[in-house]
Amino acid sequence: MKKLTYLLTVLFIFGCADLDLSPTDMISEEAVKKDPRLVEAFLTKIYANAVFEPNEVGSMKGQERLTDAVVGAEYTLMAPWQNAVKASYNIPTSSGAHNNLNRWHYGNIRSCNEIIDILNNASFDPQTIQQQIAEAKFLRAWMYLDMTKRYGGMPLELSAKSVDSTVDELMIPRSTLQATYDQIISDLDAGIADLPGTALYGKATKWAAYALKSRAALYAARIAKYHPQSSNGLTSIPSGSSGGYYAMALASANAVIDGGKHPLHTGSNKVTTYGEIFYKVKGISEVIFSEEYNTALGKTHAWSGYALPDGFKAGWGSNMHMYLASDARFEYQDGSPGNKHHAKFNNKTWFDIEEVIYKKDPRYLASLFTPEDIFQGREVWFHDKSVGAGTKLGRAGNVVPSRAPGRNRNRGGRLIQKRVHPDVEFPAFGTDDVDYIVLRTGEMYLNASEAAFETGKMTQAKGRLNALRDRVGMPAKTDVTLDLIKNERFVELYAENHRYWDLRTWRDAQAELHLVTKFGTKWYRRKSDGMYKAKKWKWNFSQNTPFLPKMYWLPYGTNKMAQNPNLIENPGY
């Protein structure tokens, strides 16, 4: 029996392994509470997930990032299977909106709330605490604005709730749209009060808070003024409050403009001055807030990979094509209408592209690749065919191919150039590291002009508008109208993902988007003298893009509704 006991003892020794292992990548909660560097690392996570560049969710390199511009009809893409194009055709149902348009930031918002809790109980340097709280609030405001512009009034979560909360505490209803905007504005006021005027490049500053507040207040004002009233206030703001929000938008925009920290970027060559804002970014005075990229560190995107025309690309390319209707919005340098030559696009009339294209607004020339545009010392070709005989060289003096490479010629006839760095030749796809501008002073001039106009301050409205035109050498407008301001906003902020949200807040989306037939341009070049003729051609990918009234507010979706019985779905779903 003794021997058996001995055996059993041995048996149990064999069955023993050290089971108290732990993973190697964890830090305890206590450590985070004591160390501002760890709090900062937590804050950095919020920056990383805040989605500053619209639609970059999912894949950093995905076409998803092009969605806002495509659904806003600023441009369209080479192929209809790209998700951004699909999103533009999609009619949302009670199942929810197209994935590319959905944005739910509550996980990250909870992190903001957790940080604020940690900081309220933290023991380190009070100034750091105050500043980090303001940073968390700025980010929270950014994310609520990103949601409320889609879904209307939101359930407002302002503290990290405990799992043990009661059902009533958990199942909060949606706040009204006004309350949601007021919360955003209040967080931004905290940012204005406590954020520093100067911070590390890429971090939020007082000026970023002012700029975002100007944008939020402007959206709120437009909704109050132009959207019909809803009975529950979830998708409308009382019209009486529009004036207050316009005033707030104006004051905040002016605070940035007059603050002196972020003056408009100026220079003698109007085209390059405007263009370099978007590919230099860092060091450009008017950039208020941006997201930074770096190829060597592996933080990259694929903008130029999509944008570069055939003949200059090493990867994808020729993906973003401008519609003819967008071309019409860019005036000529003498102030004449942007569509004045469109009648010549009849497949018969020969014209000089120097007149038809190269006399346009410098912002047009900087934002687009156009026929025989000189890029990296060579022409970008767009022509579908060369006609006749002759050897007239291109604008940069090169021999002209009989037809342009396929990708350039069979779509819109003009490609987006904005943000493409001209010094990088044949970059591999997905290795672009041009920073993304989130907030810049150009928008502030437009916010100020519109808000001043809406509140009857015509002189200021005109002044802000003309200051922006003057920077690129465009003649001043003698009178301002709302349409003029809207058009200037289109031109100045083209391809910067503003248009779709402007159309929605102005309640212009139905008129501008619903079943509107879109056109592109086909170019033909005469060999003898380099003259062009053109035709416009219908280009809708077989289908029309709808914009129904219900789409001003995207649905929460059946599944989200099922989670909280106190939620009310937006009308029409």
Partner: protein, 1048 residues
Amino acid sequence: MKKLNFLTILIVFVFGIGSLFSQKTITGNVTADGVPLPGVSVIEQGTVNGVNSDFDGNYTITLINENSSLIFSFIGFVTQTVSTSSANIDIAMVEDIAKLEEVVVTGYGSTTKKTLTGAIGTVSSEALTLRPTQNTTELLMGQVAGLSTRQSGSLPGNDSANLSIRNFGSPMVLIDGVESTLGQIDPNDIQSISVLKDAAATIYGARAGNGVILVTTKRGSDAAEGAKFSYHGTTTWSALVTMPKTVNAHQFAELMEENGLGAENEMPEYLDYDTTRKRVYNRITGEDFDGVDWYRTIYKDWTPQKQHNLSARGRSDKIGYFISLGFTDTQSAFRDADYTHNRYNIRSNLDAEFNDNLSARLDISYRQTTLDRANFGIQEMYNRLGTGKPTNLPIFPNPDFASQTGAATPYSPVYMTRKSHSGTRLDRDNNLQASISLKYDVPFIDGLSATASLNMETQTEWNKKVQKKFNMYTYNPLLGEGDAAYVFFGTYQRDMITVDSDRDMELLPKLTLNYENSWDEHALKATFVAESTTFERDYLMGSRTDPLSFEAPYLNYSSEAERNNAEIFSQSARSSYVGRVNYDYKQKYLFEATMRADATARYAVEGRWGYFPSISFGWRISQEDFMKDSPTWNNLKLRASYGLMGNDAVSNFDYLTGYNISSGFYMFDGKPFPIISSAGLANRLVTWETMKIANIGIEGTLWNGGLGFELDVFYRLREDILALPDSDIPFHFGASLPKTNLNSRDNRGFDLMLKHKGKIGNVSYNINPMVSFSRGKYVSWEENILPTDGADGAANATYNNRYVLTGNWDDRQWGYQTNGFFTSQSQIDNHPVDIDGAGNVTLIVGNLIKIDQNGDNLIDWRDQVVIGQGGMPKWNYSTNMGAKYKNWSLDMLWQGATGYTITFGGKASPWSHSGHQSVAKSFAYENRSLRGANGDIEILRAFPPTFTTGGTPQIDQPASDFNRLDAMYLRLKTISLSYNIPKNIVDKIGLTSIQLYLAGSNLLTFDNLGVYSGSYDPEIVSGVGGEGGVDRAYPNNKTLTTGIKIGF
């Protein structure tokens, strides 16, 4: 009782002579069918005293106890027990028709088929060497009822056969008692495989929930049989089972014209399209250009594969040995052959007897696999290959200039598969496993033995990628002769070197106590095991860009600017205690109970230990008096089992709270800033899933093997599945509640196997069909179930019906039922149902007509119905057939499945005509409808007309029944014809045996895929997300093999 048998003999051989206490000697003769039977084991019951019958069947044994009985046993014959009443006992051995004496390996031991109480299927070594495969998993196909394998591609080196017992999911695989994988073991080394389908697996506790597969390797043979050497060599030629056929250049251009993209936009400049003749022609020569099929460019027709195995097996004095060396070399079907896989297997299994009570085993196995290939991503290559336009040449007249597909993006599937362009990649995997065990037969307790063993395993995966940048060109002879015709188009990847290694180390000490005894008509066996495992993994990688020269492709000589490295370390540990008791009365009433306690480091102390009991019974009805002498029944047994198992690979350290350090960063002012994120809420009680399985089986043999059957009916309840208990909290809470063991689902089904053996003249044959069925339900699921009383009751009920899983089958696919597609604009205009939610303004001719199920004239989620089943077949069936005539034998395995749905989406869809994605398949071209001048359909066929599909929500997003098919197939998996060279010829050349054979696999398939048949493989498709396997992955092979087995 083979193992016990030879051990006994040995012990007797060594020590039996010394038994000087003998009092009585018995002699006799053993025969079978009247012919002397040598080698029959004769053992005195209850002792280790025994002898073998000699060449003439004679034996002599001296008894230790005067009144004991003798046990006569021999493989393949029924064991007989005879009392020693006379001094001369002649015995006639009877063939074991029902294979009752067959040894069945069970968890931590073995038993005979006779006394088995669990549902255990077995595969013999013969069945495994019938055909060569590069992946041993494939060999299990169709061998055991209820075990399904689906071969999803034959890419060399890819363990792509999907293995599942009763559709439970991936089973646990053990090789000689050590958890392992099946794919890369040499089938020639395998003695037997047991598939534990029910509570028999419980003895493996927390990892056994999906069933267990036990592989036993060969060991030293019986001393009497002498040393045996054998060589097994095969040469195999393989080809692809399916090959998609794409449209030719003319058809492609026609499609582009039809869908409005314009033919001339989709082809190189030197080609043009004649719209009247509908022909693509070369503008320089004027000749028609038929185009190129990219799939046929990249594949060659037949690819060789070689396998060799040399082994020695035997026993000399006190040492038993099995040593084996195997080599397999496989090439891919890629034409440039820059993709090969080879494998070396070395195994040495040694047994040693030290003395009366002490014996030892030393098993060492080593495996090295090498995948030597061009540097490209398989998935990416196939994505690009599908876009290779028939109007663009895959290989230019000057092949030094790499082509591209003709799509917008510069990709060259043809040159990606060439080392010369994309670079090289070498994946080397070394696995060394050594185990030593010492067995001690405790002298002071009769029947008790103790075995201590230690298993060590180390695996090193080492991969090196030398990635090269290469340029792609377009070809335009209009630009001039020679090099002038090639225009730079783009580059693929960048110059870079990456080396990574992954080192695993596992240590497994184990102590086993075995007790075995019998008295009167009772037999008792008991086993106790204590074991633990510790596992460590260390992953290390380094990479740099822009090597100075590919002459020196090493990290050291590459750019300093972009150095990158990483290390990941992880560890795990487990402790286990196992107990089992077997008891039988008169070998008629069988009983087994097991208990296992498992603990793992994955969980907090609170949820760490789990206890897994099982119980099973057997009743050998045929041993009862009323049946014992039945002329019909050779065997009839009823079995029942119930057990509790676990699945612990579901969570790792989820019980800890805190912050995780992310590998990502965010940039401020040019510098990367580190990121931490909250690990989320934690649950210290997180533990494994539990599986309760009940099984009732009945097996029998009738008419001397004329009919054998085995039927098992099972029910498995899988509980404590981890879920986020989010139905209590809304999405705006912002965090998920910690994972909790909440959900449950189940499986039910049956396995049936029939056997028939017979003889017609000189031909003996056997046929062995089997069928199995398994289907599952969500028993209770963490989800939102809305209240159906109150004002919203009806609406909520609709929601519940569509979305609630609880109580429903788990293989329902939801979507829209369709009634064809719109054939004219007026049909759209007059359609009463709003299909797009916008009054049909976005619809075009060719869009699907979705059926309005609820009659509200609006199509939304409320109109979705169940339109398909799951992707895994519910029914699996197969038949093994064999016939023998003299020295010839013919074997066949037919295998098939049904009860699953294939979705022909994505690149396999009927709408795949876009100029930008994959090139249309011939079946899509042939079956498309055609429009007339006004845009309405003029010629109506099965598929809609071509149009650019993007943004067409009706097609692209919600699932519909239009491109979904309930599939079934039957495939001739294996056929082999073998010939044994007659003994007299073999003897003359000094060998023992020579077998020659010719085998084929996947040679014939019947399926119901209709127009998709031949392009898509019914065995593969559903495994690849319904996207159409051949477009996405390397297809399955069909093979032809010549093989030789030599014994000497």
